[in-house]
């Protein structure tokens, strides 16, 4: 179950009039590598994770990505809500305004709506977690572009915080993959040795002896 806490993960109180930035920030709100994609990816990949550790980390990261989505949404909302119609036109937002007014919508900076094919699931946890890693890296790159574009120091500060958090997620997922791979290898090698030892006995002797072997083992069981 989910519950809400009525404060942002990082405070947002924008006083600037950088309306072009509202349009650019949509990339992190409803773009391919947005916080929405990150949050929904983690929420969805949790179910088939191989152990409790992986399920815990993905649940916690998903929840934080939702908090990031709220921070991005707050920035866009605060920028849009103080803009006059002329300012929105100058900022290149008349098409957006025609459809959504000054409300928010899950679209990227070019106006393309979010679709679920931005994310993926394969049941194979290695494939899924590498996809999550790549998603974090693309998200970091998007933040770097946005920080370059931003003029207002307050916006730059918030975006830098978010970029830092994504970097942190990246490190944790990387560590998780390392451990899961090690575990998988260990499991496979122990399976291989048990398979080998069970294959050895019929190869050694005649059918009779293998039968007596299996009888013995069933008796001992």
């Amino acid at each position: 179950m989910w519950s809400y806490v009525k404060n942002l993960e990082y405070p947002v109180n924008l006083k600037c009039k950088d309306f072009k930035m509202a349009k650019c920030l949509l990339e992190q709100y409803g773009g391919q590598d947005s916080e929405l994609s990150n949050a929904l990816r983690y929420l969805n990949l949790r179910y088939t994770m191989p152990n409790g550790k992986a399920k815990a980390l993905l649940t916690d990261i998903a929840a934080e990505e939702l908090s990031h989505l709220e921070i991005i949404g707050t920035m866009i909302y605060q920028l849009l809500s103080t803009a006059t119609l002329d300012e929105l036109k100058i900022a290149g937002l008349p098409e957006y305004y025609s459809n959504h007014g000054q409300s928010l919508m899950y679209k990227d900076a070019s106006g393309i709506p979010w679709i679920s094919s931005y994310i993926q699931s394969k049941e194979n946890f290695i494939a899924d977690l590498y996809d999550a890693l790549a998603g974090e890296q693309r998200s970091i790159a998007t933040y770097e572009n946005l920080i370059t574009i931003a003029v207002d120091p307050e916006i730059k500060k918030i975006l830098s915080f978010l970029r830092g958090r994504e970097k942190h997620h990246f490190k944790l997922i990387k560590q998780l993959i390392k451990e899961l791979k090690k575990e998988k290898k260990k499991k496979q090698s122990s399976q291989n040795t048990s398979q080998k030892s069970s294959q050895k006995s019929p190869q050694k002797g005649s059918q009779k002896s293998s039968q007596s072997n299996s009888q013995k083992s069933s008796q001992s069981n």
């Binding site: 519950s3 009525k6 993960e9 006083k15 707050t74």
Partner: protein, 85 residues
Amino acid sequence: MNKDDLLDKIQLTQLDALKLNMHLDVFPNDKRSKDEFEKLSYELDCLLSEYQNNFGPLSNFGLSYIENPVLWTSDPWPWDNEQEQ
């Protein structure tokens, strides 16, 4: 502490607790982080209790220290800009 200072303190403590929580997901046997996480959780609990008893609920679904349906709806929402109030 006044309302804004208390909420700032809550936000900072939440963030530290969140970071430790995620670290402990991957390194659950890290004793130092475990102790620090416990200490921070207690601090956060105290701060949340102080804030909510004085200024109203911060969480929904019965998870607040005090329930006040009027303040839950009328108190500004996190995305509301401070200059508008």
